[in-house]
Amino acid sequence: MTLRVSRRQFFKLGAAGMATSSMAMMGFAPEPAVASIRHFKLTGAKITRSNCTYCSVGCGVLIYARGDAAINNVDDIYHVEGDPDHPVSRGSLCPKGAGLLDYIRSDSRLRYPQVREAGSNQWQRISWDEAFTRIARHMKDDRDANFVTQDDEGNTVNHWTTTGMLAASASTNETAYCTHKIARGLGMVAFDNQARV
């Protein structure tokens, strides 16, 4: 620092005076050199504790949203960072976790049900009701046609092998449990999840 201090002292001598006088002469006020600190973007955010759902470390994350969940307000998630309380992650995140915001807000997020008709070259928006109804119809037709109550040896098997399902290993236990309950209720056996691969 010494270097600059001495220089500054030099300036003090003539410079200051000259500067001010020249400015006065020109009739301009000097620009104030105010700090450039950006507004603290977390002020007033709604903070929600969550978990990253990429890998199996299960890091704690804090999700920051604008809005207070008031009935007339649609909250807007604008920042995600690590939860310092979490015993494993202690606030840190990997590049995927640190980028969660862009996953939540990705342009590739789907917004409404769509169908691609046989042989068609495009998506077509449909209502949830139509989607559920059509899918249920497909499934029932196949189940009724191909459900096996007894195998060739005459064993009671009661299984449905011609419609299968892959479950999501990023979904919650509650989703998984609900999915499993339904799948077996239908007699489905061609049923797997990412744990298989």
Binding site: G58, L110, V115, R116, A131, T175, H180, V189
Partner: protein
């Protein structure tokens, strides 16, 4: 994980093998760094590539992909011959002393009972020798020629340093160095942990690689210890939970299984699973199987499940095949035998091997339902994406539904991390557009099906019409309702053996000890019992205090089973109940009861005097060095070459063609035709993840796209010189099943290896990037991978296959 993330910091030696934790689990990897800094631990990496983990490791040894059994088998050989194993532990806590049937044998790389035609083993001889009570004979001296210890010693005697070096391509000195480091943890106060992931599972011999590691840990006395264990770093955020909840073709929640077609009688079904102890006095906890099963059926079918109908036994689908795994299903789909398919947050076109086959298979579906928060390649498999996915939409008659679902930030619920912690998280914002939670989507489909069956009737409607659906809003069950259901509750008052009332009807269960086989309890997943008790939701607990400084944090979330953080922790103490070492103590006997820094992982009333083994789920109560009939390719691990191997034969069995590859692996004829040979495809390839990306999701995120924007393959300098490739050149990587184009990253981090006298070049192929999203468009890596799986799990062999690299 048998242990947990934070516990890694208690290790003295960490071996990163069959995984790349720094790359795939950076935050969990923090505890490796802590172990190095605060526990003076060493980190060793054994990998085909000098990885990001190797970048901060104390020692690195290169290895040929798919040869880990040789490396670890050699270690077992070394430990036994040099006597550097923890004898007391092995004697007390493993089946080393148990005696095996005389008929058992191993010849020309095959165990006894192999049927070459069916490609399967008859496992009769793979058993202990039993006395009249059905208890295994033992020899505490470990001298009996047919005791497990001696058989194991004999089996691995072939795995000498020279053999291992020529199989793995690892220099002898490096192998010896790693073996010595491992051997040091045979000391009772030293522990080693294995951190592995899909680098071990995704081989045709994957399960046996992991078993070999487990055997090493048993020999070194590192199971149940702080900083020990065999730790699977699971790939996805809730892949542990989905496994626990049994979303696999042959499973039911809590590692219960579906009946096989020939198990027509309910009693036989239970008897087969409720296995008695093979050693006198052991717990053999599966003996209570029926309690778990009946409670599950009550949770699913409510009053409809009664003793009279064997708790709806026939409503459960029975297995017509060993497995309806994904390779099997896509084979049938390819044959046109599948009508419809639902993909929930799963992208098979990108994730499954042999993309061309998957594309054809999907094209033969009548309907495909994709439930996902994001656009996926699978949902657009019918769409032409130019050179990256060249199909004719007009020729594809599959009706495809794409249903938007919520992402984690937009829902409540729990995920189970690799430490088996069930962690509850909360919704932070609204879903985009009309997106719905998966539960609402599945309920929506199911309720319509139910109505159709009510109105029209149809094939076997009973389980559909009677599925227990007590949710306040049937069209959208809440996470709270579902969590309470899989925890389990009492349907009637529950009494203990002395007729004391222990749980009132309607109350949530404290743990699986209260489950009953008489239909008085309902429980959707017995191992989760205790996560939502009368005291409320245990998974939201956020007390991160660590009173013992062991990193257990018992007050954070809830860990199955029964909030235990380290499995088999009984093994952390000697048979007499005193810790092997104070620094590694987890639980110990203080004279009256078990105390310690973790929940004892065995019956509280099991006094040291009872000498019950710590591995209470096993019939022997001991760690199984001898797998008996539980592994399809043999009770001891043996090295077999990958189905696409860069060498002509299995160096261990050059003259035994049957023993070249896993003899018990299932290969479909068409897939076999699609295997390449090393003459045509000389380079050994392995596929893997990068830390900047997560599979095929993050290519949709600008932030991640920026950090790793374009598909590349990693090539060693030697191979690059051979092919005249400079870094940054575009190359074409071809296998028998197709090709991908990518940028060449030429690196010192991949060295060519000397294997059985040949030079083998390995090629690294990251699996990310596709033809959607923010990153540069690319071919899918799984265009190249072969469609063959592990003989037990059918997990595809993504990690070892053959390619040819050409400069473009």
């Amino acid at each position: 994980m048998t242990n947990h993330w934070v516990d890694i910091r208690n290790a003295d030696l960490i071996i990163g093998m069959g995984g790349n934790p720094a790359e795939a689990h950076p935050v969990g990897f923090r505890w490796v760094m802590e172990a190095r800094e605060h526990n003076d631990a060493r980190l060793v990496v054994v990998d085909p590539r000098f990885t990001r983990t190797a970048a901060v490791a104390d020692y690195f040894a290169e290895i040929r992909t798919g040869t880990d059994i040789a490396f670890l088998g050699g270690l077992i050989h070394y430990l036994i011959e040099s006597g550097r194993f923890q004898r007391d532990y092995v004697l007390a806590y493993t089946d080393a002393s148990l005696i095996v049937r005389e008929e058992f044998g191993f010849e020309d790389g095959l165990f006894t009972g192999y049927d070459a035609d069916s490609g399967e083993y008859e496992m009769e001889s793979w058993q202990y020798e039993y006395d009249d009570e059905g208890h295994a004979l033992r020899d505490e001296t470990l001298e009996h020629p047919r005791c497990v210890f001696q058989l194991m010693r004999q089996h691995f005697s072939r795995y000498t340093l020279d053999v291992v070096s020529s199989v793995c391509g690892t220099p002898r000195d490096k192998i010896q160095h790693v073996w010595d480091m491992a051997a040091e943890t045979a000391a009772p106060d030293k522990t080693m942990t294995f951190l592995y992931a899909l680098g071990w599972t995704q081989h045709s011999i994957g399960s046996q690689i992991i078993r070999t590691a487990a055997m090493v840990q048993l020999l070194l006395g590192n199971m149940g210890m702080r900083g020990g264990g065999v730790n699977a770093l699971r790939g996805h955020s809730n892949i542990q939970g989905l496994t626990d909840l049994g979303l696999l073709s042959d499973q039911l929640p809590g590692y219960l299984t579906l009946p096989d077609a020939d198990e027509q009688e309910y009693e036989d079904f239970i008897l087969e699973r409720a296995r008695p102890p093979l050693v006198p006095g052991e717990v053999s906890y599966w003996r209570y199987y029926e309690r778990f099963h009946v409670s599950l059926m009550k949770a699913w079918y409510g009053d409809a499940a009664s003793e009279d109908n064997d708790w709806c036994y026939d409503w459960l689908p029975k297995m017509g095949e060993d497995l309806y795994d994904i390779l099997h299903t896509f084979e049938r789909m390819h044959q046109g035998e599948i009508t419809g398919y639902l993909c929930q947050g799963f992208n098979p076109l990108a994730a499954f091997p042999h993309k061309a086959k998957v594309t054809e298979a999907l094209s033969r579906l009548k309907f495909l339902v994709v439930i996902d928060p994001l656009r996926t390649e699978t949902a657009e498999f019918w769409m032409n994406h130019g050179e990256y996915h060249d199909v004719d939409p007009a020729a594809i008659d599959t009706e495809v539904f794409r249903l938007p679902t919520t992402a984690f930030a937009e829902e409540d619920g729990t995920i189970v991390n690799s430490s088996r912690w069930l962690q509850w998280f909360w919704q932070a914002g609204p879903p985009p557009g009309e997106a719905k939670p998966d539960t609402a989507i599945l309920a929506g489909i199911f309720l319509r099906l139910q109505r159709l069956y009510q109105e029209e009737g149809g094939a076997f409607p009973d389980p559909i019409l009677n599925l227990h659906w007590p949710y306040r809003r049937p069209e959208e069950p809440t996470p709270e309702e579902l969590a309470r259901e899989y925890n389990g509750w009492a349907l009637e008052d529950v009494f203990d053996e002395n007729r004391n009332l222990v749980v009132r009807a309607g109350e949530q269960l404290e743990d699986f000890g209260f489950l009953r086989a008489d239909g008085s309890t309902a429980c959707g997943c017995w191992i989760f019992a205790g996560c939502w008790t009368e005291a409320g939701n245990q998974m939201i607990r956020r007390d991160n205090s660590d009173p013992y400084g062991t990193g257990q944090t018992l007050g954070w979330a809830w860990s199955w089973p029964g909030n235990r953080r380290i499995l088999y922790n009984r093994a952390s103490a000697r048979p007499d109940g005193t810790p092997w070492a104070a620094t590694k103590a987890v639980v110990w006997w203080d004279g009256e009861r078990w105390v310690g820094n973790d929940v004892p992982d065995f019956p509280e009333d099991s006094t040291p005097g009872m000498t019950q083994g710590p591995f209470l789920m096993n019939q022997t109560g001991r760690g199984q060095l001898f797998a008996r009939d539980r592994m399809n390719e043999g009770p001891f691990p043996e090295h077999y070459e990958p189905f696409e191997t860069p060498i002509a034969s299995n160096p261990l069995h050059p003259d035994s063609p049957l023993a070249k590859n896993n003899p018990a692996a299932r290969v479909f004829p068409q897939d076999r035709e699609n295997f390449g040979t090393f003459e045509e495809f000389p380079h050994a390839a392995t596929s893997y993840r990068l830390t900047e990306h997560f599979h095929y999701w993050t290519m949709h995120n600008r932030l991640n796209a920026i950090t790793q924007p374009e598909k590349f393959v990693e090539i060693g300098e030697a191979l690059a010189r051979e092919l005249g490739i400079e870094k940054g050149d575009r190359v074409r990587v071809s296998s028998k099943r197709g090709h991908i184009d990518a940028v060449a990253v030429v690196t010192k981090r991949i060295r060519s290896l000397q294997v059985a006298g040949h030079t083998v070049h390995q090629v690294g192929i990251p699996l990310h990037w596709g033809f959607l999203g923010e990153t540069r468009k690319a071919h899918l890596t799984n265009t190249l991978t072969p469609s063959v799986g592990d003989a037990n799990t059918q997990t595809p062999e993504y990690k070892s296959f053959l390619v040819r690299v050409d400069k473009l």
